[in-house]
C-alpha cells in the first residue's frame, strides 16, 4: 500500500515550517528523504502505527504562481499523488489567508485547516471562532500554535480522520451569478474530460477564466471555444481584467467569511513589537540597529568559527602523522591519501566551523523577520547596482562563506535578480579570503591596505553589477511583505541547521576529496614549473608579479587560504613577510586573489543551484573582473 502523502500549503510566514518541524519530530526510523532536486522538505512520520509521508511546500500567496518558489508548489499540487493538504493559516492574517483557503477548496483535495499562530492573532486583538469556520466551510479546522507545540496532536488526529473518509464535501464558494453561470458552463464541458492532472473540473473552469496560463493545454482546448467570448463579456462588464475580477470576488468571499467567524476586541496598548518596528523600519534611525546587527552577526560567526576551528584542528592535525611514513617509501600513495585527508580537513576543519554558526544564526534570524527589514533598508543602495533589497541577505552571508550564501539566493522571486545576485556573490570576500587579505596586508601595508582592498572590492562589485544589469534588463520593482516580528524557535533553528549541514556535507565532501587528490597528484608530478610557465603571460606580464605565484593561484582555486601556504613554499620562505614582493605587488596580488575564480566548493554549489551555464559565465566574468581590477591597481601603483 502506498504511504499516504500529506502536504503543507500556506502563505509565506504562516509558520508552516514550524508545523513541519514539530511534526517531523515524531519521525520514524526512515529519516529525511533526499536525492531529488525538488526543493521541498520531506519527512516520514509515524502516527498510531501508520507511516505518513509529509511534505513542506514553499509558501504561496495564491494558486497563481508568481515566483520560483510558488511555481514549485503549484507544480507539486497539480502533478503529485497527494492524499491530504494541511492548509496552514496565519490566524493574524486571516482575511488574506482565507483567499488561499478558498482556492484550495476549489482545487478539491481533502484538506484540514490549521489556524496557526493563534496566540499572535490574540495579541493583535482578533478573536476567531474555529467551530464557526469549520461549519461554514465543512472542513475540519484546528487551532494550533506550532511554536509552543499546541494543537499539533489534534491536527494529526483530524488528518487521520479525513484520510479514513471516502470523500470530503466542502462548502461550495459561490461567485457573482453571471460568473458562476460561466464557471458552471465551462465545468460541464470538463466533466467528460479525463484530466491527467490533480484538481477538480470546477478549479480548472475558474482558472480558465482567471489565469489561463496555468491551465493544462488539453483542458484549455476543451474550454477554448466559449472561453474567449466569456472572458470578453466579463471584462467589459467589470471594466478590469479577469484576473482581478476573480481575485476580487475571492477576496470578498474571504472577507465575508472573516466577518462571520471573527471579531476584533479592543486592545489598549500598542504591542512592544510594533514599537520596535518603528525603529527598525525608520528611514534614518533604522540604520543603527542594522549596524548593530551586522557587527553582532559577524563577530559571533568569527569567534564561534575560530573557536570551533581550533577545537577541531587538534584531532585533525594528528592524522597526517599516521601516514607520514609513506612519504618516502611510496610518495604516490602518500599524495593520494594526503589528498583525501586535505579534502576532509577542508570540509570539516575549515568550512564547517564557520558554516555551522552561520547557518544557525541565519535560521534564527530568518524566523524573526528581521532579514526583510534589512532588505527594506538597503533597497535604495541595491537599486544602484541593478538589484533590489532582497539580494542583501545573501550578500551578507557571502562575507562568511559563499556556499551557504548561494543557497540563500532562493528567496529572491525573479530569475534575473537571482542570477545577477549569484554571479556577484563570489566577488564578496569570504572568511577564507579575509584571512588572506588580513595576513598579507598586516605584513606589507598595515590596516589601510586592508581598508583599501575592501573599498576597492565593493566598488568593483558595484561596477560589475551595473555592467551586468545593462545586459539583463531592469530589475522588477520591489514588492515585499514585512512580516510581523517573531521570537524565533531554538528547536526549529537547530533542526534546520542540522538538515542544511547534512546536505552540504553530503554534496561538497566528495568534490573536495576528489579535488584535493588531484592537487596532490599535481604536486607529485612536480608540474608546478609547467603551470608557472603557462600562467606567466598573465601573472608576470599583465600583473607584474613574480611568475612563481602562478601555481599558487591554481591551488587557491581549491582553497583560497592555501594561496598563502603555497606562496611561502613556492619561494621557499618561512613566513609571509619574507615573500620577495613589494607592497604594491602585494596589493595587486590580493586584489587578484580576492576576485578571481571563487573556490571549488562555490563552483559546485553554484552548479547545483543554477546549472553549468551560470558556472561558466561566473568563471569567465571573475577572470575578466579580477584581471581588470588587478591591472588597474598595477597601473596606478607600479
Amino acid at each position: 500500500m502506498k504511504t499516504p502523502e500529506i502536504v503543507l500549503v500556506g502563505q509565506p510566514n504562516s509558520g508552516k515550517s514550524t508545523v513541519f518541524n514539530v511534526l517531523s519530530d515524531i519521525k520514524t526510523s526512515v529519516s529525511n528523504f533526499s536525492g531529488t532536486s525538488v526543493e521541498v522538505a520531506h519527512s516520514y512520520i509515524n502516527l498510531h502505527g501508520q507511516t505518513f509521508h509529509l511534505v513542506d511546500l514553499p509558501g504561496v500567496y495564491s494558486l497563481n504562481p508568481g515566483d520560483e518558489a510558488e511555481k514549485v508548489t503549484f507544480a507539486y499540487l497539480v502533478n503529485e499523488d497527494i492524499d491530504l493538504v494541511i492548509n496552514v493559516v496565519d490566524s493574524s492574517m486571516l482575511a488574506r489567508s482565507l483567499e488561499l483557503t478558498v482556492e484550495l477548496m476549489e482545487f478539491g483535495v481533502p484538506m484540514v485547516i490549521a489556524l496557526n499562530m493563534w496566540d499572535e492573532a490574540e495579541r493583535r486583538g482578533l478573536k476567531i471562532y474555529p467551530g464557526k469556520l469549520e461549519k461554514m466551510l465543512n472542513i475540519p479546522v484546528v487551532s494550533t500554535s506550532a511554536f509552543h507545540g499546541k494543537g499539533i496532536k489534534e491536527l494529526m488526529e483530524k488528518c487521520g480522520e479525513v484520510l479514513c473518509q471516502d470523500q470530503q464535501s466542502p462548502t461550495r464558494m459561490v461567485y457573482t451569478s453571471h460568473i458562476e453561470k460561466d464557471i458552471h458552463h465551462l465545468e460541464s464541458h470538463l466533466l467528460e474530460l479525463a484530466i491527467e492532472k490533480n484538481g477538480a473540473p470546477r478549479f480548472y473552469a475558474i482558472k480558465s477564466l482567471e489565469n489561463p496560463k496555468v491551465v493544462p493545454e488539453d483542458v484549455l482546448k476543451t474550454t477554448f471555444h466559449d472561453l474567449e467570448t466569456m472572458r470578453q463579456q466579463i471584462q467589459e462588464m467589470h471594466d478590469r481584467d479577469l484576473y482581478e475580477t476573480i481575485s476580487y470576488e475571492r477576496h470578498h468571499l474571504a472577507m465575508k467569511l472573516m466577518e462571520e467567524v471573527s471579531h476584533f476586541v479592543d486592545r489598549k496598548t500598542i504591542p512592544f513589537r510594533e514599537k520596535l518596528d518603528r525603529y527598525f523600519l525608520h528611514p534614518y534611525l533604522g540604520y543603527f540597529p542594522l549596524l548593530g546587527f551586522f557587527i553582532l552577526f559577524f563577530a559571533a560567526i568569527y569567534f564561534v568559527g575560530n573557536f570551533l576551528g581550533d577545537i577541531i584542528a587538534v584531532p585533525l592535525g594528528k592524522i597526517p602523522g599516521l601516514y607520514a611514513g609513506l612519504k618516502v617509501q611510496q610518495p604516490f600513495l602518500w599524495f593520494t591519501i594526503d589528498g583525501v585527508y586535505q579534502g576532509i580537513e577542508g570540509a570539516i576543519g575549515i568550512v564547517l566551523p564557520f558554516f555551522l554558526p552561520l547557518i544557525f544564526l541565519t535560521s534564527l534570524f530568518e524566523d524573526t523577520g528581521y532579514l526583510s527589514r534589512i532588505a527594506f533598508l538597503v533597497d535604495g543602495f541595491m537599486h544602484k547596482i541593478g538589484l533590489h533589497g532582497k539580494s542583501a541577505a545573501p550578500f551578507i552571508l557571502g562575507f562568511g562563506c559563499t556556499v551557504p550564501a548561494l543557497y540563500g539566493v532562493r528567496i529572491i522571486e525573479n530569475k534575473r535578480d537571482r542570477m545577477l545576485t549569484a554571479i556577484l556573490l563570489p566577488f564578496i570576500p569570504c572568511s577564507a579570503r579575509t584571512a588572506v587579505i588580513l595576513a598579507l596586508t598586516a605584513a606589507f601595508t598595515g590596516p589601510f591596505g586592508a581598508l583599501f582592498i575592501y573599498v576597492f572590492v565593493v566598488f568593483m562589485i558595484a561596477l560589475t553589477g551595473k555592467f551586468m544589469s545593462l545586459f539583463m534588463g531592469k530589475p522588477l520593482g520591489l514588492i515585499m511583505e514585512i512580516p510581523g516580528l517573531k521570537v524565533p524557535s531554538l528547536r526549529v533553528s537547530f533542526s534546520k541547521t542540522w538538515m542544511r549541514t547534512k546536505s552540504f556535507l553530503k554534496f561538497a565532501v566528495p568534490f573536495l576529496i576528489v579535488g584535493s587528490i588531484f592537487m596532490g597528484w599535481l604536486e607529485y608530478a612536480a608540474v608546478n614549473d609547467v603551470i608557472n610557465k603557462a600562467l606567466s603571460p598573465m601573472v608576470e606580464t599583465v600583473l607584474g608579479l613574480p611568475d612563481k605565484l602562478g601555481s599558487t593561484l591554481v591551488y587557491g582555486f581549491f582553497r583560497k587560504e592555501l594561496v598563502l601556504v603555497m606562496a611561502n613554499s613556492a619561494f621557499g620562505v618561512q613566513n609571509i613577510p619574507g615573500l620577495p614582493m613589494s607592497w604594491q605587488q602585494v596589493l595587486v596580488f590580493i586584489v587578484f586573489v580576492t576576485l578571481y575564480f571563487p573556490c571549488f566548493s562555490t563552483f559546485v554549489a553554484m552548479w547545483k543551484e543554477f546549472g553549468a551555464k551560470v558556472v561558466w559565465l561566473s568563471a569567465l566574468l571573475s577572470i575578466v573582473v579580477a584581471s581588470t581590477a588587478a591591472f588597474l591597481v598595477k597601473i596606478v601603483l607600479i
Partner: protein, 86 residues
C-alpha cells in the same frame, strides 16, 4: 453635511500618516497580480508609513489584516490613491 473632497495622488507622492484609499493599481500585469495576491486591492484603506525621499514605500493595509508591505518607488508611482481633504 460637510462636503468631503477626495484628492487623488500617486502613492509615491502621497502624504505619510494619512489614511489613503487605493483607487487604481496601474502597474504592469505581474506586479499588479503580485500585489493583489499579497492582499492589496483597489478600495482598500492603507496608511503610508514613511515620508523619506528614497528607499521603498512602506504601507500598512488597514482593510486586510494590517499587513505591512514594502513597495519600490517606481511601482508606488503607478499606484493611484485618494485621501480626504479637510
Amino acid at each position: 453635511m460637510k462636503e468631503v473632497k477626495m484628492t487623488n495622488i500617486n502613492l509615491e507622492e502621497a502624504p505619510p500618516g494619512n489614511e489613503l484609499e487605493v483607487i487604481k493599481i496601474d502597474t504592469g500585469t505581474s506586479a499588479r497580480q503580485r500585489l493583489i495576491s499579497m492582499g492589496v486591492h483597489a478600495g482598500d484603506k492603507i496608511i503610508k508609513y514613511n515620508g523619506s525621499s528614497w528607499g521603498p514605500i512602506l504601507i500598512k493595509n488597514i482593510t486586510v489584516d494590517s499587513s505591512k508591505i514594502a513597495i519600490g518607488r517606481g511601482l508606488a508611482a503607478k499606484i493611484l490613491v485618494g485621501y480626504e481633504n479637510t
